[in-house]
Symmetry: C2
Subunit: 353 residues, 2 copies
């Protein structure tokens, strides 16, 4: 195990100073003859500059961080692939963390990135906007992907009655009000996607459409509410946590408590999977007994029987664009990007029975 050549070795072998080597290698000015000699020696010694030295001097780690809830979820897998593809073509390393949709783990991972001086991060956030504020204040360039961080729970709003009074009383002198974070993001056009799906189902005659949501689906739920309009039957909106079990339980519970519903819109591929499973378990036929639309297209949607009608979102592109943005950041502050979705009609929806 031979040790690597350092810039000093190159300088010595080429008979120049280290400063010159550094300049040649990073495109500074140097006479053609020196340049040539240095490059030759560097190649000959198989010299590769150590990122360690450079990083320390520049007080920042190259590359970027990527935080996703769960790489097992095929959507995040595609997103990550997009990020990695972009990073690879730029020769930059990517530090990946999986948060499990748990704000606490997310915080720890943010801390880890801070410690590593990773100052560019792409995140599918699980925590509050407040969880991200410290990172941004520390100088991190953060680009959110797929979702935006929730606007922080106002402690007053959380716990009922007396708090309303409190809120009233303190309205003027209140501490910094819960507010959204303004940070660039790359998102799918959830609003349009959901609306398209709801319109499609309505067009088939469905009146009782349920929404199966998961963590981070706030914008989708909001879009669903908007698309369905008043009066909203609140029981038709149910939530699961990130796990498969929870998704199944939510779906199964929904079908059992509301036998009158005729269509379900699943907010993500795991929810869709759970819905198919639960329906099958309860002997509900798709689409005769219940119609199903899944948000997010996955390869197996076609293999399912019936093949699932879905709203496709460009997961890979989301990642790729986010990586581009975070790499180009610094020149000018990147602005939020919204990518289109597409309704793909297969076989899981039918007219209201």
């Amino acid at each position: 195990m031979e040790k690597r050549a350092t810039i000093k070795d190159v300088a010595q072998a080429a008979g120049v100073g280290v400063a010159t080597v550094s300049r040649v290698l990073s495109g500074g000015s140097a006479s053609p003859s020196t340049r040539e000699r240095v490059l030759a020696v560097a190649a000959q010694l198989d010299y590769r500059p150590s990122a360690l030295g450079r990083n320390l001097r520049q007080r920042r780690t190259g590359g970027m961080g990527l935080l996703v809830p769960d790489l097992t979820d095929s959507f995040f897998g595609r997103l990550a692939e997009g990020v990695l593809a972009c990073a690879r073509s730029a020769g930059e390393p990517v530090v990946v963390g999986s948060t499990g949709d748990d704000p606490e783990q997310e915080s720890e991972l943010i801390g880890m990135l801070l410690e590593q001086s990773v100052d560019r991060v792409i995140a599918v956030p699980s925590g509050d906007a407040d969880a991200w504020r410290p990172a941004i204040r520390a100088g991190m360039t953060v680009i959110f992907a797929d979702r935006l961080p929730a606007v922080p729970q106002d402690p007053a709003a959380a716990s009922g009655f007396g708090d309303l009074m409190l809120l009233d009383g303190l309205a003027a002198a209140a501490p910094p009000p819960a507010r959204a974070l303004d940070a660039p993001a790359v998102l799918a056009d959830d609003r349009a996607g959901i609306r398209t799906a709801v319109r499609y189902l309505s067009g088939l005659g469905h009146r009782r459409i349920a929404f199966l949501g998961g963590p981070g689906h706030d914008r989708r739920v909001a879009a669903f509410r908007e698309a369905v309009g008043e009066p909203m039957d609140e029981e038709l909106i149910v939530f699961a946590t990130g796990s498969r079990d929870s998704a199944y339980a939510a779906a199964s519970g929904l079908f059992q408590s509301r036998p009158d519903l005729s269509a379900v819109l699943a907010g993500g591929n795991m929810l869709g999977e759970a819905a198919v499973l639960a329906a099958r378990e309860l002997d509900l036929r798709v689409p005769q007994d219940v119609s199903l639309v899944m948000y997010d297209d996955v390869p197996w949607a076609e293999l399912c029987s019936p093949p699932l009608t879905v709203i496709a979102q460009p997961g890979r592109d989301i990642g790729y664009r986010a990586a581009e943005l975070v790499l180009r950041a610094g020149s000018r502050r990147p602005r939020t990007v919204v990518l289109p979705t597409e309704l793909i009609v297969r076989g899981s929806c039918g007219p209201r029975r």
Copy 2:
């Protein structure tokens, strides 16, 4: 954007030398009173040691690298989740790269890791053993997961005649012969898994069983050959590259060229997906016309119709164990670990028609 406190700030504020702070923080010896004071000051200043400084001094980056062919493949997603879970609990960063099953990209990524002084790597290798030798010689601890690197193509074997002469002439002074790499690995018990599947299919009366392989499935193919025994009908073994299209083409081609086959063993989940699709396209009913076993269990296997009979392999565990090994390496050289597989019978196999 305020800048972070350094160890010097802490030392000054605590009225001690930097060496003492360093010792306190990394568990060296110090008097209880100093220790307490330093810790208090550090907490108060919200001091976090910079990984940059430490890494440079120790000439190595903490954490580990992870190289997989494709995060979009649910198996590698699970494997990555396992690695990340273990790393997270150790507080270590993971640099992830996706090779696309391309040896060239893999080499570039290895180079990137070398440049970053990442000296511990978990890899699902795509390239030769030769591609990995330099990294190992440079002092990297490499643990292979899921597969072993192929034993290098002997250049003489590759290109015919003239080379034989060359080989003859140089036989004595020849460069080190192509040989396998001896490096620890964490693998699924492919041999047992494949054998179980083949026996299961044989037991159902199948005599013409085909194998659909992908990149890195060498060990599975070998196991298949062994399990089927002589005489082997070579046409029944077909290969695809990593892409979905290629997998579909291979499956479709197989079904069309050999209408006499009665069972297919798909070497990975993408191959299985392709087989289902191709069969459906050609109006072959599963399992009446053709039986199908897929290597690797995925959530959608149950949603398929019929639900797929699979050989499950513990993807997440493979990743987790590999990460454990690579973290514990250094004490003693880790040895290869083989994890069990399990045949899960669902509905995609039937008696020979």
